[in-house]
Amino acid sequence: MADDVKPTRKELMQIEERIELSERGHDTLEQKRDGLIMEFMDILDEAKDVRSDLDDKYEEAQRAINMARALDGDVAVRGAAAALKEHPEITTESKSVMGVYIPQIDSTKVRKNLDQRGYGVLGTSARIDEAADAYEELVDQIILAAEVETAMKKMIEEIETTNRRVNALEFKLLPELRENKEYIEQKLEEQEREEIFRMKKVKDKKEAEEDAEAAAKEEEDEEVVPADD
């Protein structure tokens, strides 16, 4: 219980208002947390698929480049790679999902045609095309994975924050407020009881004084009566 709680009716009303507000906030935050968890589960499923595709595409790209290096030679592959002039570009924007800003990554110049890769068609083979294709697909998948996994991390952070707030309300703030309310109510009741008792005492005292006064007056009247001779 807070030390600075004043057991007054005003304070009680304020605390009751805060409890009501906190309960409403708690319900809203709980709903938000549940919503976020549902969104997170959807993103998690997507992230699992994206990660699995990423693993497959990485394996495929590695296989393709190993075959190209093996059969066309390391020099030919390095030469073809060095010919690339236009590198992929990435732009990021953000969108709000239940108040959480998650990134949207757009990429350009990742997938290229044969004429955009910079190497000559005459001096290279289909193996190099295949390795380039596989790596372009891999880069696309990495960008998608970055988007989905960053969204997932942001959602987790938001869920944690919301959960901490829900817990703070549920296990800290609301119990304290309720305890304070109970304390004030008890104090007020006690004060009321004391007041009643005090009033009763005053009343008894007043009645006793009145009785004493009446008795004294009666006695005085008896003494004043004259004798018959």
């Binding site: 059969l71 060095a82 068609v121 005459l122």
Partner: protein, 353 residues
């Protein structure tokens, strides 16, 4: 150009005898089957005890692992082809030199790519294969060049000079090496047949036929790559003159429709040789198996010519192809083993006769 007059008869007997001896030392199917089941260390050891001993020992201090194998293979290849040029005289020298200019083209492209990408001079030097007509001094000057324009200027007096000078403007405009690389490759292929005497003996005619087949296969391979890539490219930029299979008009028409292109090949002079390969191509999503079949068909064709005309340029040419194939196969095995690929998969990828 040639160190002797190309109109003179060549010393075919001497060169073909030397080539037969060299050819007998090439790895056979059993050797490859052993190699694909070895680790990279074992492959290096196997090579140290073979034809490649000198190069492996010489380069062992500078390189290691699969790089050592690849550089030793390149150096050994260069040594053999240098010997061919050294032994040959007259017309034979001219024929061999024409074909070996593919290494000049390779070296020129390697230097251009090195300069373009700002690679270290030593790295570019390591990647050169000194098997063409360019002298060691020319190659050294090329590696010292500081800009693409300087490289073009250095080869001004070679067969590549005019084409490269013409392509420099496109390079400067687009900032891409493609125009220069295409100019180099196109010049090599177009000079293969250009200027050969009109009154040819049968062996020379077959040599020309073989070169035409190589040009046709290059055109076909590129047409299929363009057809599959969906890129909006002008097919004539990649067309090589001198073949019999496709005219520029055919190429423009067929590159838009792969089915028609395949049908065109089926009904062509290569229909029988490439029938199976075309079946594979129609079923497969990738061109790799088809390219594989083209390489095997070319190798087989050269071998057939060499058996039919043992005292001609054909056995020399067949040896050049077989040696190149050996180098490609060993490098493929070593790189593939390093990458942990399955031995059976590697064996399927090797082109063997």
């Amino acid at each position: 150009m040639s160190r002797t007059d190309a109109t003179e008869e060549g010393n075919y007997e001497y060169v073909t005898a030397r080539v037969r001896s060299r050819r007998s030392r090439l790895f056979d199917g059993d050797d490859y089957r052993k190699l694909v089941r070895m680790g990279t260390g074992e492959i290096a050891r196997f090579m140290e005890e073979s034809e490649y001993e000198t190069e492996m020992n010489r380069l062992g201090a500078r390189h290691s692992g699969v790089d050592l194998i690849e550089y030793a293979l390149n150096e050994n290849l260069a040594k053999h082809f240098d010997d061919l040029l050294r032994w040959s005289d007259g017309a034979l020298y001219d024929y061999v030199a024409r074909y070996l200019r593919k290494f000049d083209a390779w070296n020129l492209k390697t230097v251009l790519r090195g300069v373009y990408s700002g690679a270290e001079r030593e790295a570019v030097e390591d990647d050169l294969i000194d098997a063409g007509e360019f002298s060691a001094a020319t190659l050294e000057r090329l590696t010292e060049a500081g800009s693409v324009e300087e490289v073009v200027e250095l080869v001004d007096r070679t067969i590549f000079g005019d084409a490269l000078t013409a392509a420099v403007d496109d390079y400067e405009e687009a900032g891409l090496l493609v125009p220069l690389e295409n100019a180099v490759d196109r010049t090599f292929y177009e000079h293969l047949i250009a200027g050969l005497p009109r009154d040819r003996d049968r062996a020379t005619e077959l040599y020309v036929e073989f070169l035409e087949a190589e040009i046709d296969f290059v055109n076909l391979r590129n047409a299929l790559r363009l057809a599959r890539s969906g890129a909006e490219m002008d097919p004539s930029e990649y067309y090589i003159e001198g073949g019999r299979l496709l005219t520029p008009a055919d190429l423009r028409r067929l590159v838009a429709n792969e089915d028609q292109l395949v049908e065109h090949v089926r009904t062509s002079i290569y229909g029988d040789e490439l029938d199976e390969a075309l079946d594979v191509l129609e079923e497969a999503e990738t061109l790799i198996e088809f390219e594989h079949a083209l390489d095997a068909a070319l190798l087989e064709y050269a071998d057939t010519l060499s058996n039919r005309y043992p005292l001609s340029v054909c056995p020399v040419l067949s040896f050049v192809l077989a040696k190149e194939r050996e180098v490609d196969n060993i490098r493929a095995v070593a790189r593939a083993r390093e990458a942990g690929l399955d031995p059976d998969e590697i064996e399927r990828e090797l082109v063997m006769l």
